[in-house]
């Protein structure tokens, strides 16, 4: 479903991603792991079509995602409907004036009946236990609440691929368990999950595959998740634990 071929990215002459190639199949759950500054967030932004690919290739469901594709408003809109992204910093993602509007925002961009929008929004509230926040102003919520609203607002669009950037930041243990279970359920429903995280031990049983990016911005592991977390020596050597 997702294929990255020889992707290299430089920002201000600094290499952020160096000749990265991998494949993610439909319905897979993948953890992107790496030390701080290795380029995880940049990679996720490429996967969401937020950055121009200068060198390399990104193929999503047989379609090449390049400048031409991104500049086509209709194609871009359909692409973003299919690929949901939860930002690392929720403050950057939440821009509406109530939590209800925040979760409904994406749905309002399509010609969907209001009753259907309302139903989906309340279903997302139930999934994340945030119904009591529906009339609150998103940016005044606590860190954990913001994160849950950000996940709900992405889920409301029912994306086929859910990309999360450090979803467990600022989250209490109970909510962590809730998000872990949610990701597992979504994966069972056939969604593709891609998640950049440092808390990978917490996600035992959720991910099938892991991609490790080194501090030199190269992929140094692309394989089974369980075998990776069993290999303590490799993780220590690469500044991951």
């Amino acid at each position: 479903m997702i294929e990255i071929k020889n992707l290299t990215c430089k920002l201000n002459e600094n290499v952020v991603l160096d000749d990265i190639s991998f494949k993610i199949n439909n319905g897979e759950s993948v953890a992107i792991i790496g030390p701080n500054g290795s380029g995880k967030t940049t990679l996720l932004r490429f996967l969401n079509g937020l950055l121009d690919i200068k060198k390399g290739e990104y193929i999503f469901d047989g379609q090449r995602i390049d400048n031409k594709f991104i500049n086509d408003a209709k194609k871009r809109k359909i692409f973003h409907k299919r690929v949901g992204f939860v930002f690392q910093n929720s403050d950057n993602q939440l821009f509406c004036k109530t939590v209800f509007n925040e979760v409904a925002f994406g749905l309002f961009q399509f010609d969907i009946k209001y009753e259907e929008v309302e139903k989906r929004v309340f279903d997302c509230f139930k999934l994340l236990d945030i119904e009591h926040l529906k009339e609150r102003v998103p940016y005044t919520l606590s860190g954990g609440e913001k994160k849950k609203v950000a996940i709900a607002s992405t889920l409301a669009l029912n994306p086929e691929v859910l990309i999360l950037d450090e979803p467990l930041n600022e989250i209490d243990p109970k909510s962590k368990r809730k998000i872990k279970e949610l990701l597992k359920t979504l994966n069972d429903y056939g969604k593709t999950i891609i998640c950049a995280t440092h808390d990978f031990e917490y996600f035992k049983g959720v991910f099938k595959k892991a991609i490790v990016i080194s501090s030199e911005h190269k992929i140094i592991y692309d394989g089974d998740f369980e075998s990776l977390i069993g290999n303590k020596e490799f993780l220590e050597q690469n500044n991951i634990i």
């Binding site: 809109k77 409907k81 309002f108 940016y139 005044t140």
Partner: protein
């Protein structure tokens, strides 16, 4: 381990008045808490739909400015007192403070003309005080975002409303950041800053860069949620009994303008 880490320091601190940082911190906190108040759902008048409050307040102020009927002005004054009774204690104090200031200032400006035969001077002063009280009551009891949305009824484009809403959001988030930076400055400076005003420019620089970064990220967030250039959102707020009673009271006051 470094040797100096094992020993206790014996520096002498120059303790100086920190009023600059303290004042800036308290004003930032007050701004943050004012915006946070949006989430105070409360009861009664605080729950009334903002569109009702905005338009009835506007109509009342316009009719009040047109009228010189003492009974109608008294009716409005009674209405203000009724609203003040329904407010929480701290809000009552704020309204009374502001109304008192408005009363004193307008008395100083308009009051002396009474001695030169302006028989309406007292009425004008009362009208100014009532108008300011009405505006303040609306502002204090409402969510600013919903007040902005209420302008949709007079066909203000959604993009303009979105910009206003974003401005409030940015003020809140940047104030929180400025507060955090100032707190850190206060803690690390251990009570002594050589040139406290110079630190402001550095904080402003930091906020400026942050705001640019935030605006780019918001653009990406809009993009990720299939934004197509047209803002569509609804106020999730039901109209109930409170709005009904509020409308009846206001219609009686509006009728008072024509009948009295």
């Amino acid at each position: 381990m470094m040797d100096w880490l094992k020993e206790k320091d014996e520096f002498e601190f120059k303790i100086r008045n920190e009023s600059f940082i303290e004042k800036t911190l308290s004003s930032l906190l007050s701004l943050i808490s004012k915006i946070r108040r949006f989430d105070n759902k409360g009861r009664g008048i605080y729950r009334i739909h903002e569109a009702f409050k905005l338009y009835f307040t506007l109509i009342n102020i316009i009719l009040l400015s047109l009228s010189f009927n003492k009974f109608y002005i008294m009716l409005n004054a009674s209405y203000v007192i009724l609203l003040i009774i329904l407010l929480e204690d701290k809000d009552v104090l704020r309204i009374l403070n502001i109304s008192l200031v408005a009363f004193v200032v307008s008395s100083l400006i308009i009051g002396p003309s009474w001695f030169w035969g302006n028989k309406n001077a007292v009425l004008v002063i009362v009208k100014i005080t009532i108008s300011i009280s009405l505006t303040m009551i609306m502002s204090i009891t409402s969510n600013w975002h919903n007040i902005i949305s209420a302008f949709r009824l007079i066909k203000v484009p959604n993009i303009v409303l979105f910009i206003f809403n974003s401005a409030i959001r940015f003020i809140y988030l940047l104030s929180e950041r400025a507060y955090a930076i100032l707190c850190s400055l206060k803690i690390r400076s251990v009570g002594y800053i050589k040139k406290p005003y110079n630190t402001l420019s550095q904080i402003m620089y930091n906020l400026f860069v942050t705001s640019i970064d935030m605006s780019f990220k918001m653009d990406e967030a809009l993009e990720c949620r299939c934004f197509s250039g047209e803002f569509k959102y609804k106020i999730y707020k039901r109209i109930g009994k409170v709005e009904f009673f509020y409308s009846i009271i206001n219609i009686i006051i509006i009728l008072g303008f024509f009948i009295l």
